[in-house]
């Protein structure tokens, strides 16, 4: 809807509302806006769903409701949402009727018709309303942010969870990968957009505009997916360094001491940061597509590139190890159930392999109280060796008890995409966060295009994790 038209309608509705309120007050009837707002919302929602005044007016009315919603405080918003779920949920009597007809039908064509009817009956009226909010000037973003709110609130009441899941379905349809546009982001991009990268970067915080500018130099690349319904908002973005040979230290990439490489001569692209930018799109996955689209773009523009690799954190390693140490301190058998892996060896032993147990012993004094080292540089060569063995073992064997997938979430993401574990990097991330996650170690996942499908199938089908010889040897 045009802003003009919406604004005018909005103004009309507001005037009408003020007149009503004033006349009420004038008649000495008192007037409590809050008390009555629920009634007001109900009326407006009903008018909107009944398409009173025609489709265009209904759309404008929905926009008005959206505007009002945006001005509510958190309590008000929840009240509104509760109203939605309480009074504009699926009509279960109607569902019952259609279900009965469907069960009775024996002809496929008739069933097909009734299925269409059932689908319609199963769309809750509140979804029709939510959908109309996309006519608000920033309507799509409004719904994405509403889902972000609902994700935080969903445990407070079952209704909010229902709404959240329904909204997810709506958004998943709209944000189909086919509608997204891949754009390169450069230092020539709008400042208003770059500011959002600073805000949304989730892996290696961007500390200043200078830091950001360094990440957009000619030997760097940044790509993001955008949706035409919210063109100013990146959905997900990736930062890439063009270098020679696989990079092992993120500090070197970000602090840019080394000389820049001529992009046309670089042989390796390092994906060193991938950030989801929209909390409200959680569970709607773009990362796999982003990486592969960017690989295709880079191949086309820079034919010299031979390797595509990540430089990734290992967020679960230290906490996993802490659990092993704690278990051992409690006299329990380590390894299971906490790390119940899919590997038969592990299952048979119902515990960690002996050499891994030994490695844990070697590293035990890194934990509180009185850790033997507080920075990777202080770690003794022996401990370092043990840590590297342990971490490789962790990456290849530690699994989620329920699904059998890799325990480490970042590993799981790249393995699902078909990458392989390529190289462990001691001192890959020297800062405090790196120490807390993985004693400063980072790992490269290599995207070898020839093997991506095979690796994916092996991992998803049989739980096998692809790795380089070097990593496998360390894990043994």
């Amino acid at each position: 809807m045009s802003q003009t038209f919406l604004d005018r309608t909005l103004d009309n509705l507001r005037s009408a509302w003020r007149e009503l309120r004033d006349s009420t007050v004038a008649r000495g009837l008192g007037f409590d806006e809050n008390e009555n707002r629920k009634e007001r919302w109900r009326n407006q929602i009903e008018a909107c769903l009944a398409r009173r005044g025609g489709a265009v007016s209904a759309r404008a009315r929905a926009a008005t409701l959206g505007h009002d919603f945006l001005r509510l405080d958190e309590a008000g918003k929840k009240e509104f949402l509760h109203l939605l779920i309480a009074e504009f949920d699926v009509d279960r009597d109607r569902v019952s009727d259609v279900v009965a007809d469907w069960t009775a039908a024996d002809d496929v064509a008739e069933r097909a018709l009734l299925e269409a009817e059932l689908r319609t009956a199963l769309v809750p009226p509140f979804r029709s309303l939510l959908k109309e909010f996309n006519s608000l000037p920033q309507g799509v973003k409004f719904l994405v942010d509403l889902r972000a709110d609902l994700l935080r609130w969903r445990r407070e009441a079952p209704g909010l969870g229902i709404l959240e899941r329904d909204l997810k379905t709506l958004l998943a349809g709209w944000f189909d990968i086919g509608f997204l546009e891949l754009s390169r982001i450069t230092w020539n991009s709008p400042a208003a957009l770059l500011e959002k990268l600073i805000a949304y970067e989730a892996v290696h915080a961007i500390k200043s505009w200078d830091d950001l500018k360094g990440r957009l130099e000619p030997d760097r690349r940044c790509f993001a997916f955008f949706h035409p319904g919210m063109p100013d908002e990146p959905l997900i973005f990736v930062e890439v360094a063009l270098v020679n040979g696989i990079a092992g230290s993120v500090d070197d990439l970000i602090n840019r001491d080394e000389d820049a490489v001529d992009p046309g001569h670089a042989d390796t692209a390092i994906f060193y940061s991938i950030s989801n930018a929209q909390a409200g799109l959680a569970g709607i996955s773009f990362g796999d597509f982003l990486i592969k689209r960017v690989v295709a773009e880079l191949q086309r523009d820079l034919p010299n590139l031979k390797q595509f690799s990540t430089l990734s954190p290992i967020p679960g390693f230290r906490s996993w190890m802490q659990k092993q140490v704690d278990a051992r301190n409690r006299g329990e058998v380590t390894g299971l159930p906490a790390i119940a892996g899919a590997s038969a060896t592990v299952r048979a032993n119902r515990g960690l392999p002996v050499h891994i147990e030994a490695a844990i012993t070697d590293c035990e004094d890194l934990f509180e109280p009185q850790p033997s080292a507080e920075r990777p540089e202080q770690v003794s060569p022996e401990t370092r060796e043990a840590l590297e063995q342990l971490c490789c073992w962790y990456l290849l064997n530690a699994r989620r008890p329920d699904s059998g997938t890799a325990f480490d979430p970042v590993a799981h993401f790249h393995l699902t995409n078909g990458a392989r574990v390529e190289r462990l990097n001691w001192l890959g991330n020297g800062n405090e966060a790196g120490w807390q996650q993985s004693f400063g170690m980072m790992v490269n996942y290599l995207y070898d295009l020839a093997d991506i499908e095979k690796n994916h199938e092996s991992y998803v089908g049989q739980g096998r994790i692809a790795a380089s010889g070097a990593v496998k040897r360390l894990a043994r």
Copy 2:
């Protein structure tokens, strides 16, 4: 998906295919591409739906299928679609199970969960596949055109009708009005776009590039809705003339004999042509939004405009009148059932009012054989008067027997939008088509913004048709 990536995958799949075929032939086994293609499609669809090789590969595989589909002839396409509906329809056993659980559940939260499951179970796998086709370079347009095909074929087999309706649901979600962009089209627009206007114009054919240029002069406006998924394709467009006073003759507007009006000084905008451009979006309505968005745009840019009116054909009038004449010739009571209207008077009489009967008598000799006139200019003053009365009566009283809505489809469209019947124009369209539709008469529907909601509600709620005093008088 990037073209590059798709193309490469496509090439891989084609190579594999050729190898298979060649080796088959080499082994002396014979090879009939057509015979085996069904099997091949089945395998590819299954691989695609199982996300074999990962989501990106599945998407690429879907694109490959889409490419293949596009190269099929009509019979091949239908064969493919039959395969889809026959083997990738809803899993009815699963639906049965969920329905059983839902019926057994008594808790609302549990039911809500099961409803989500039921919604998922009701999505036929073929829809998942169709959805993935939007990653084709022109994927959205591909699906829109597929639906256009299905609309033509749907009576041939029930399955095609099911597909068509399902595709409509998918497209209706994507083409939500909130995602459309209104753009003005001018003589500075790309020729490739303007060429489509010439092709799609459905009301007053554009005869040449000169004719088109005339419709884009400074005192004309043309607006269209576009969808970001098919940015080169107008969805619907409207042609507007800026004039002084309500225009009554479309020939004057198109042939441009008169001097151009300074747009800033015009007081009236005449919407003289609205064309839907995509057969595959039939039943997904944009016209109401288009008109009102354009009115808002015009108001903002040209504050001098005071009136917004159409100059519209009356496509149903002559055929309706022919029916009356035929009925009378057969000795039947005219008026009903053919024109069963909502008006109480008409219903009570179970026939046309006496003066309308008389008017029909006056005009009877316009029909074959040996019509008394073959062009509006030849009509006698008395007959003209009778025709004008009849036509006004027709616009205000002739109704669809089932719905009670206006018999004339164009009238129904504008009345639903909240317009009123403003003025009948003798000689409004002097060409053959105009004569065939309505003896050359045209009508103005006036969009008076202050009355739009009221008119809509009256028409939709009570079937009352708003009209100017002049039209009402003529109809009486």
Copy 3:
């Protein structure tokens, strides 16, 4: 200048003018607009040059004058221009003074200062005024068109010639090649631009929008230079066909019977039409730059291209031959002076070589009265052979008596650019124009990048014309 601001100022000036006129009339003084307009122009020009009211007002006043000028008829325009040259020419007394000082000065630094002063003194005030016209909304185009007018009028009065040459200097500075932008024109370009191609095409007339569309198919290219000061106007454009092997027939290229070539696989780019679009830029040359920029663009985008060649008309051949025939008929020695070439042989003989004389004899009956053939198809094999020999000889040897450069203007253009005469094509252009120019023959000029500089130097320095062996053989 913003339109708004200009318009306002314009309105003010017009009101003032009307007031003046009305009061004059009111006082019974009579008022002849035409009689007084010279006085009015003089006052406005003086105010403008004196920067009365400040620089912005002066610029607005110049714009007003420009607007008035545009509304004048041809006589009025000439009157205005005569006023300019008569009263706002160089101040020759001032020039005399500076010249005297310069002559007296013996120090280089002092001379340099006086030269700067002399340059300023030599700028006629009318040029300052003309320069300010570029603030008109279409100011640069205005000046370009003004020069086109002056080119037509310059023989009428010496002052107009002075103005024309001065304007050329001004435009040459503005249209420096460094400011031009090369743009590809496609079927997606604005119709308003494509319409200009149709109007400006000077070599092979574009007969319709369909014809134009054919020239913009995927295996065709069209490029134009644009200037940022008149972004809607092409300055010069070239049409290119992507084919395999050098093309010899323009009909085949334009009528498109053959199958399209995949542009990525074509090995040859044929430049078959180059048109200057702005008469007012005559003598300011862009063609050489255009061809070489386009070659560079094509090489980058289509690495498969191996050859770059024109397919060109031979506009001077038939008229040159007519002269030879006429001379012979008058019993004169042919060859000189009409075709006084640079070649020593020709000069020594003071006539055409014997075999060329013989060839002319063979072709003589192609001329009126009673030509033996009226279309290339009717020419006998013997005559054809003689014509081909003659034409090759003409291309390589016929020269302008004054400059010794190639007699054929198209040949001169491409030879100056460093191309070589590659191949003569019988039936290259089968239409009437082709017959009138060169009995339907066309010629390819080949741009071999390795030889361009050498060819240019040979031609410009020693008058040597580069040609393929085949052409040389035919000419011998």
Copy 4:
């Protein structure tokens, strides 16, 4: 020129150069790059000016020279420029000849022709070369920066001054106001552009990206002029605050404590900062056009605006006052010659008016040693009153001895543009720079569109300075 083409030519030339060098070294001849470079430049310049290899090659050769020049250090650049002026200056013998012919000619038409020839003869060859540098990728910017260098170096050798002035003429032609584009700059502009605002802001330094963002909020405007030849570089920009009533404190505007105003309701636009961005365009004036274009834009977009005013520094006040105090301390008559104004009264008195002398006495203890106050807040009410009187007197009466124009440069700029001195603001700029310039006072210049032309004429013609009654009273 396309980068590609240039690069290739460049590479060719470099290869040739390396070959030459290598072969020289191989022949044991020794090779000093620096020793020979002058010879090399000379050859290249000659080749370029002789258009050797054709116009396109000459242009490429010039570009190569430009590339080489850019890599030189300051000494190398000067050496190159000295070569240019020493060997490629005007051909004075040719000028002499043409001057002699011109003097001898008595016919106007002949003189006009000779003047054209004289103009050509007066163009030094080095200018032809410089002009060709605009084909470098950033060629226009290259020349602008070259002039900035020359402005710094021009006193070192007369030749550099000649070059500088000649380059100014060239640039003045190219940067004609008619070619400039006004663009609004917002927070959505490219970061690479915004970064330049931070660097170029010359009045109130932009301290950070946050500070910059504050200046681009919805109730602020920023506009700049751009030239199509260097589209990434602002030429001049202005910052505007939309407020209610004339603002007196720049701190309030920049530090944004107050609430933002709805731009549509603001009645006043305050121009609080105007910065020239290109040192190399010094003396080519855009400020007057910028202000008036921005006024026109603002009027169109925000019809509520009633007043357009600056909030300006008074950079010359304190130094002027220091001179008065010093003169008095030396026992001289104050006022003249330092402030020789155009006003008859002042001239007659050959000194400052008595009350102004008294005001200076009242303020004398603000100067070193031991100033009585170091910040505007510490100034006593009496001294403040005296300072305000003095400052108003200064603005209206202090003049340049040579030109009689306003002594204060900012005043002179706005008065020339037709503004009037509107209001003096105590504490207008509370920071150290404000104290050093004008004891923290600032002044508003009001642009009253109705009076601009009149004010300009009065100031430029009679030296009369327009001022508000309040300012005049204070100055009295």
